[in-house]
């Protein structure tokens, strides 16, 4: 049972108030007739299924009835960010990877003896 911050209500609310609507940032081609069948098929049917960071479209159905986006980790269910329609995510798999890289570089620079290995198990 997730706790979700609605960017329009500006509050955390219970998951029961929301409906998930699939992958975010799926753009309907401006000129559908100009699309090949393959392109149209991509738009209609193909979605990401990442193990990790996922940008999702949700609606605050029992609330302001606004659609918005959630950046969520599909394993930990951590919600990293919610943002309004029309906005771009501030956190992506790429920004997180870069951050981690910078952190480990800083850590190894700071100390070569106490290295944090974390849980390496899959």
């Amino acid at each position: 049972m997730m706790h979700i911050f609605c960017p329009y209500c500006g509050e955390l609310r219970e998951e029961e108030e929301f409906h998930a609507k699939g992958q975010a940032h799926i753009e309907r081609p401006i000129e559908p007739e100009a699309c090949s069948d393959a392109e149209w098929g991509d738009y209609l049917f193909f979605r990401n299924n990442p193990r990790g960071i996922h940008h999702e479209l949700w609606i605050h159905a029992v609330g302001c009835r606004k659609y918005f986006n959630i950046t969520r980790h599909t394993v930990t269910y951590e919600i990293l960010e919610t943002y309004r329609m029309g906005e771009q995510p501030g956190i992506t798999a790429e920004t997180l990877a870069a951050e981690q890289l910078a952190q480990s570089a800083a850590a190894s620079a700071a100390s070569s003896t106490t290295q944090q290995t974390g849980d390496a198990r899959p």
């Binding site: 706790h3 309907r28 007739e33 069948d37 049917f45 479209l57 609606i59 980790h73 951590e78 329609m85």
Partner: protein
Amino acid sequence: MTETRTPSRRTSSGGRINRETSLNFTFNGKRYQGLAGDTLASALMANGVDVLNASFKYARPRGLVAAGAEEPNAILQLGSTESGQVPNVRATQQALYDGLEAHAVSGWVKSQKDLMSRFLPQVGKLGGKFMPPGFYYKTFMAPASLWMTYEKYIRKAAGLGRSPLENDPDIYDHLHQHTDVLVIGSGPAGLLAALVAARSGARVILCDEQEELGGSLLSMSGDCLDQTLDGQPASEWRDAVLAELAACDDVLLLPRTTANGYHDHNFVTLHERRTEHQADIAPVNSRGARQARSRLHRVRAHRVIMATGAHERPLVYSHNDVPGNMIAGAVTTYLTRFGVAAGDKLVLSVNNDHAYRAALAWKAAGRDVVAIADARSAPSGALVEAARAAGIRIITGAAVIEARGDRRVTGARVAAIDIDGFKVTGEVEELVCDTIASSGGYSPVVHLAAHTGARPVWSDEVHGFLPALGAPMLKGFDACGAANGSFSLEDVLVAAYASGVAAVEACEYPVADTIVPAVSALVEAPMLPLYQVPHDKPTARAPKQFVDLQNDVTAAGIELATREGFESIEHVKRYTAMGFGTDQGKLGNVNGMAVAARCLGQTIPDTGTTVFRPNYTPVTFGAIVGRHCGALFDPMRYTAMQEWHVAQGAKFEDVGQWKRPWYYPQGSEDMHAAVERECLAVREKVGVLDASTLGKIDITGRDAREFLNRIYTNAWAKLAVGKARYGLMCHDDGMVMDDGVTTCLAEDHFLMTTTTGGAAAILEWMELWHQTEWPELDVQMTSVTDHWATLTVTGPEARALVGELTDIDLDRDNFKFMEVREGMIADIPGRIFRISFTGELSYELNVPANYGQYVWETLFAKGEKYGLTPYGTETMHVLRAEKGFIIVGQDTDGSMTPEDLGMQWCVGYNKPYSWIGKRALTRPDTRRDDRKQMIGLIPRRKKAGDERIVLQEGAQIVFDPDHAIPMPMVGHVTSSYYSPTLGHGFALAVVKGGSARIGETVFLPQADGSTLEAEITAPVFYDKKGARQNV
């Protein structure tokens, strides 16, 4: 029923029981007495009841092992009446009350025998070598076709307890809680953390699964070995803290409340047993009203502090399951808290100091401590010294390797052991005793911390798993005290204070002054890791050494599993059933992993970590369901005319959550007779349908028309004010998703209707497009479904009847088909839509719903002379099907395009905007000629009476009935009825390439082996030109 034993094991003084108040109870039909403050377990022990159950697989006698939630054996059936039966109650968690009736769960033995004799006659004998680990998998793998038969017996055999056969007379409920800090566990850690939070002004919930709050403080005997907090005895400190907490407005104290599940983002389910300590069935409250027997708290906490303590691990030695074998801490608890000694002569087998308390308490109660076998070569702590000073014999470097006895321990075999070499090194000494208490160390109770998938982390320092604090699945989650591996009281309090402060800071309250109580010193020496005790025979041949008592998993079984190639502990668990079910590995998991690790020659963390799932202990279905049962199971939505429908004896049909009149039987009519009468009334006179459930959406804005153009498949550019049009909606994959009539009320104002079931989804769908793709369009939408009551008056007499109610000019030329008018209807302002779903002359009256029943009744007052007949959804279905009108969701299944439905007329390919679904309709797959297309079917009539043939909805259609099985299925029936108007059955169906096959015959193989024949027709059966609705 007459035997009453005098409690013989009760000590003469001490404990938190009330020796003045005795309570009667029965176990397996025998009467006993216990004391107020007893648990069922302590009362049974006081009465000398050793054997409480037969084990799951081997049918061995089993007794009490523990004093809390970790008890694996004493899982009993409660209830004095059939309706009051409660299965799977741990005797250690059930407070005693007067009149309590408990039974062993013994039904399984018979089931097990049935299973064996039915499928394995050659086995002929129960258990033992015949049921090795993996038994079920190996034995019942094949043939697959018999699995269903096996399963029935296996389920019975595996069952623990039984459900009541009668309805539960009790009620249960839910309470939604929000708190800053949820503290789980009320031992010293939980109490101090809660106190820090409460003093700082935070909203606090403190829960504990036991009858009283206080946790381990309740088991302190108050003697000189107990530590003091700020110079106070532990119990006094506890009382003072609880009194302070209870006085805070925003602190909720919940004893008898188990945190059973930890879910995402600090959502925790607490199961509060509210009256289970009082009676079988909840007594009424002071107002005489029913109250919930138990309650599920659904808690959203900003911070969770897990202070759940630790479970003591038993040592794994041979015959460690014979009644009289217990964990050391339980022996202490029964003595100090309940004033009950588990027996007379105790042998203690330990690897740590803390467990010495059992021997000291035993001795203090005037019982005989035969010996303490300590696996350490030179134990030295304060408790050890106290034992020596009390004259207790300590055998060092040794352990109990085997218990003697059958239905009760009669002796212990003690020997010096070499832990690293895993062997017995010295002579075996036989000690006479009736109780063996063991302690192999303490496992932090990390279950909750693992429920969201954060794997606990092994600690070589603690020799146990710790919660993976800091993992992303545990944000805002903290643990302290023994649950996080702090075992000395001083460490516990320091950690708890830190957890409390961290929680308060996270909730952004100023931290109030609280001082960690000073604790009197108690030196404890380190423990020595020991799990399975070596025997003088190898594990495989030694008498059984139980790891998981509830699931009858032995060390030899785990050894066998590793020999058979199961190397991951998760696989070993599934193969052996270790930690399954209600046990969730409380006592056995770490020992089992240690055995597996030893067999595999690796460390425990190498063997894997262990994961626990909700629920921590069983939760009754009643508590899960709460008040969502009976009439409140699910919302039932009613229209404004519901009372009239009920008064007329209507039968109702579920349409989503709506209850719609299905038909109105008169006298002894069955559905068929009623529907035939209703159909003919509409076709010949006039009928009325309550159509209020249709979705209605008010749409305004300068771009409303353009919006409709994009959402609907057909064109809306030229719909004039006052006119209505049927519209079809597709998903962007070109498949039909909804339909309805939309009316233009003003140039920038439309009223859309949707299907009954689709109302909410369509509004959400349109908002989706408006909010995400076309925010530039000036269009606003609001649901008015509940606002308008809708009465569909239809039939040749409709005009005459409606004319008696309204001032609106109904003249056929002034108010044409597919037009709307506003005016008064029975003195109520409203609108009339001239639209038809029956093919007859129809008027849909819309009035504000507060007046719906009045207008409906007025209609009937005027309608008698016209033969006005109310009709329900079944008649509506027949009438519309006769006209070939589809019902989305019945005739469509999300795979039908408008063209598949023969509705090309409703597709505006030339609209400028590429409307939703258009592009997909030119995909090769949607252009195939052999798609399933909507057609009509008329059953072939070969003899008298065949006109009554009604094809089954959903029946599969084939072209060639003589084709070998499996026959190619080419379509199915979507709607099928008997038409009293036509005088025969008819159906709508989809058939591959069907629209080019009009006049052909198709076949419908029946379940009984016969085959029905039907002719493909156009899907309009009545008034093909539509003349009747245009009169």
